[in-house]
C-alpha cells in the first residue's frame, strides 16, 4: 500500500521551453496547415504551434507527426528563423521514474461524437454543430473572435435550436446515463446568447431539465425570462433547405401531444460525455474496475466515494462519473486530503479479517488469485499463492472458492460457519428458513425491517457473512444436508458491493448450485438469491414472507431425499497391493 513506482513519459517538444519567448516567427514560416484541435477544427494551426492560449509553459511545440520530416530534414524553415536557436530536431522522449505513495487518477473525459445519430445530420448539415463547437464560436479567443456566425455563410443566425440529451440517457446507443452537465451548459449558453444578441430566438428541446444544483433553478428561470422557449420532446428528424441552408426539426411536443415543425438558422446538439477512451490501459495498471457505463468504480459510492479499490489510489473528476466543475473541484480536494492522510500516517491500520493461506494445503491452482477483487493474492503458475495482507479487504471470496480448504478467513472460518449451520438446524430444521446475509447490506436490511416494526414470519434464521461471496457451495449444501427446507443467499446490490464486485462470484456460485441441485433431483427453487440493501427493510420483510411461503411447499419427503442425496459418500478404502516378489 502506498508504494508505487511510476514511470512517466515526457514527450519530446522539439522546442526548448526555457529559451523560447513565443515570438511566433517559426509558425509564420511553417508551410504545414492542420485543423486546430483546440478550436474543434473550426480554424487551423501550423505544425509548430502553442496548443492553446493558456498553455504552461507558454512556448511552442513541434508536432513531429505533422512536420514535413526531420530525418532527413525536409523543410527546416522554423529552425532557420528562430533567433533564440531553441528548435532541436534531435529531441527525444524522456522516461522519468518516481517513487510515490499515492496516485490520484484524474484523466478526465471524452465528448460524445454524434455522427452516428444520423437523424440529426451532424457532419451532413454544416449548420448543425455540437455544444463544444458552439463554445469555441462564442468565445472571444475562438476562431471568430467571439462573433457568433453560422458556418455555412458566416452570417449571424437569428433562430437557434438546442437539442438536449444527444448521446445521453439513450440505451439504444449504449449510453443510458445522464451526462450531468448538458442541461446547465445549454441554459448558460442561452443566457450568453441573450446577453450578446438580444434579438436571437433560442428554443431548447429536452426530455427533462435537470437543474438541481445551488442557484441552478434560478438560472433556469432567468433563461426563460430572457425569452428562451423550452419544448418538451426530442426531434426525430432534421432536414435542410438547400437554398437557405436553414434547418427544419420535426418533433412531438410531449406536453401537448402535437407533432410540430420548427425552422432554425442553426441547430446546436448538446452532446453528452463518454468515459476517457484510454482508460483501459490505466485500469489494468492500477487494478481498477469499471461500472457498466465504463467509468471507474469507487470502493463505495457513499462511504468511500474518492477511493479506488486499490489502496493508495484516488479518483478526481469525470473519470469516476459525470460531474460538473464544482463537484470535480470538491472531489479533487477530497482525493488530495485522502492522499495526504495516507502519506502522513505513521502506521496504517489494516483489516483484522483477512485471508491466510496454508502453504502445505495449497494445490497451486491459482483460483483464489483469479477471484480476488483487490488483486491481493500473488500467484504464479506452479507456485503457492500468497496473500498481501495490506491489500486484502476480507471479502472471503478466495476462501469460498478454494476447493482444498487451504484458505482460512481470520474470524470467519469455515469451522465457525459449519458450527453455526449445524447448531441452527439441529432442532426442527423443517420449520426454519435458513439465510446467509452479508454484513453491510442484507443483515442491515434485516435490522431496518426490525427497527421499522415491519411484520414478517419469525421462522427465519440468519447467518452473517462479511460478503455474500464468502458463502461457499459447501456451506449451502451443508444447510440442505442438515435438513433446511429452503436456503437464501443475500448480499448487496451490484452498485453497493463493499468489496468492489465480489458479489459477482456469488451469482456464479449460486448458478452452479442450481445446476448441481437439479442434477441430484433436488428442486433448485429451494435455493434463492436476493440483493437487499441496508435501506430495504421492506424488501427484507417481503423476501422473508416469500421464503416462508416457499418453505411451506417443501415436504418432509423432499427434505429426506435431499439429505440422502447430499450425504457424504463413504470413501473407498484403497486395497493394499500385495508385495510382488522379485527373483534375484
Amino acid at each position: 500500500m502506498g508504494n508505487f513506482t511510476v514511470t512517466i513519459r515526457k514527450k519530446a517538444r522539439y522546442v526548448d521551453p526555457t529559451r523560447c519567448n513565443s515570438c511566433g516567427e517559426c509558425a509564420k514560416v511553417c508551410p504545414v496547415v492542420k485543423p486546430d484541435e483546440y478550436q474543434m477544427g473550426l480554424s487551423s494551426r501550423k505544425a509548430i504551434y502553442i496548443p492553446f492560449p493558456q498553455a504552461v509553459p507558454c512556448s511552442y511545440i513541434l508536432n513531429m507527426d505533422d512536420c514535413l520530416g526531420n530525418n532527413p530534414i525536409a523543410c527546416g524553415k522554423c529552425a532557420e528563423v528562430c533567433e533564440k536557436e531553441c528548435i532541436n530536431y534531435d529531441d527525444q522522449d524522456e522516461l522519468v521514474t518516481r517513487e510515490v505513495g499515492a496516485v490520484i487518477v484524474a484523466i478526465g473525459l471524452d465528448v460524445y461524437d454524434p455522427t452516428e445519430m444520423d437523424e440529426y445530420g451532424y457532419t451532413r448539415f454544416e449548420n448543425v454543430i455540437t455544444s463544444m463547437e458552439f463554445e469555441r464560436l462564442i468565445c472571444a479567443g475562438g476562431p471568430t473572435g467571439g462573433h457568433f456566425v453560422r458556418p455555412s455563410d458566416r452570417k449571424r443566425p437569428k433562430r437557434i435550436g438546442f437539442i438536449q440529451c444527444v448521446g445521453s440517457r439513450n440505451p439504444e446507443i449504449g449510453r443510458p446515463y445522464c451526462s450531468n452537465i448538458c442541461c446547465m451548459n445549454t441554459i448558460k449558453d442561452s443566457l450568453l446568447l441573450a446577453d450578446h444578441y438580444p434579438d436571437i430566438e433560442c428554443t431548447v428541446f429536452y426530455q427533462d431539465i435537470r437543474a438541481f444544483g445551488k442557484s441552478f433553478e434560478d438560472m433556469f428561470q432567468r433563461s426563460k425570462e430572457a425569452g428562451t422557449r423550452y419544448i418538451r420532446g426530442l426531434p426525430g428528424d432534421i432536414t435542410e433547405d438547400p437554398q437557405t441552408r436553414n434547418l427544419t426539426l420535426t418533433v412531438e411536443n410531449t406536453t401537448t401531444g402535437a407533432l410540430q415543425r420548427h425552422e432554425f438558422d442553426m441547430v446546436i446538439l448538446s452532446v453528452g460525455v463518454v468515459p476517457p477512451r484510454d482508460r483501459d490501459k490505466l485500469s489494468s495498471l492500477l487494478t481498477l474496475s469499471k461500472t457498466s457505463d465504463g467509468f471507474f468504480m469507487e470502493t463505495h459510492p457513499k462511504l468511500k466515494p474518492v477511493d479506488a479499490p486499490t489502496r493508495g489510489v484516488y479518483f478526481a473528476g469525470f473519470c469516476e462519473a459525470p460531474k460538473d466543475i464544482k463537484d470535480s473541484v470538491c472531489q479533487a480536494g477530497a482525493a488530495a486530503s485522502r492522499a495526504g492522510a495516507l502519506l502522513n500516517a505513521r502506521q496504517i491500520k489494516v483489516e483484522a479479517v483477512t485471508s491466510v493461506i496454508n502453504a502445505s494445503a495449497c494445490k497451486k491452482c491459482g483460483l483464489c488469485a483469479a477471484v480476488c477483487p483487490y488483486g491481493a493474492i500473488k500467484w504464479q503458475k506452479g507456485e503457492v499463492a500468497v496473500v498481501i495482507e495490506a491489500a486484502c479487504a476480507g471479502c472471503g471470496s478466495c476462501g469460498a472458492t478454494c476447493k482444498f480448504g487451504a484458505i482460512t478467513m481470520r474470524h470467519f472460518t469455515d469451522a465457525q460457519y459449519f458450527a453455526q449451520i449445524r447448531a441452527i438446524l439441529a432442532d426442527k430444521p423443517q420449520e426454519k428458513v435458513f439465510a446467509f446475509a452479508c454484513n453491510w447490506c442484507s443483515y442491515a436490511g434485516g435490522d431496518m425491517a426490525g427497527i421499522s416494526r415491519m411484520q414478517y414470519p419469525a421462522t427465519n434464521r440468519l447467518v452473517r457473512t462479511m460478503c455474500s461471496a464468502r458463502v461457499s457451495e459447501e456451506m449451502v449444501l451443508e444447510a440442505f444436508r442438515c435438513g433446511a427446507p429452503v436456503v437464501l443467499v443475500s448480499g448487496c446490490h451490484y452498485a453497493d458491493c463493499h468489496y468492489i464486485n465480489a458479489n459477482r462470484q456469488t451469482v456464479k456460485r449460486v448458478q452452479r448450485l442450481w445446476d448441481r441441485l437439479e442434477k441430484l433431483g433436488i428442486r433448485p427453487e429451494r435455493l434463492q438469491l436476493e440483493w437487499i440493501s441496508a435501506a430495504e427493510g421492506l424488501k427484507f420483510a417481503k423476501v422473508m414472507r416469500q421464503m416462508e411461503e416457499l418453505r411451506q411447499t417443501v415436504t418432509m419427503e423432499e427434505i429426506e431425499h435431499t439429505m440422502q442425496a447430499l450425504a457424504p459418500k463413504p470413501k473407498r478404502e484403497k486395497k493394499e497391493q500385495e508385495p510382488v516378489e522379485v527373483e534375484a
Binding site: 457498466s292 446490490h493 451490484y494 452498485a495 464486485n501 459477482r504 448458478q511 442450481w514 433448485p524 427453487e525 435455493l527 434463492q528 438469491l529 436476493e530 440483493w531 416469500q546 416457499l550
Partner: protein, 52 residues
C-alpha cells in the same frame, strides 16, 4: 455483439429472454416479480418467452 439469452426466475418461475452484451456486468431482476433469483438457462431445455 449482443445475444438473446434465456433466464428463469427461481421465485415465480417466469421464463423470459433478454439481450446480453459480451462481458456485461448487470444486476438482473425478474420483470414480473422483481426477484433477483434469476437463473441463466443454457440453450438446451430453455423454453423461451413462456411462463414456466
Amino acid at each position: 455483439m449482443a445475444t438473446r439469452e434465456t433466464f428463469k426466475c427461481m421465485m415465480c418461475g417466469h421464463v423470459y429472454q433478454e439481450s446480453v452484451e459480451p462481458g456485461e456486468d448487470k444486476e438482473r431482476s425478474c420483470p414480473k416479480c422483481r426477484s433477483n433469483s434469476i437463473r441463466h438457462l443454457k440453450a438446451a431445455g430453455a423454453d423461451a418467452g413462456k411462463d414456466g
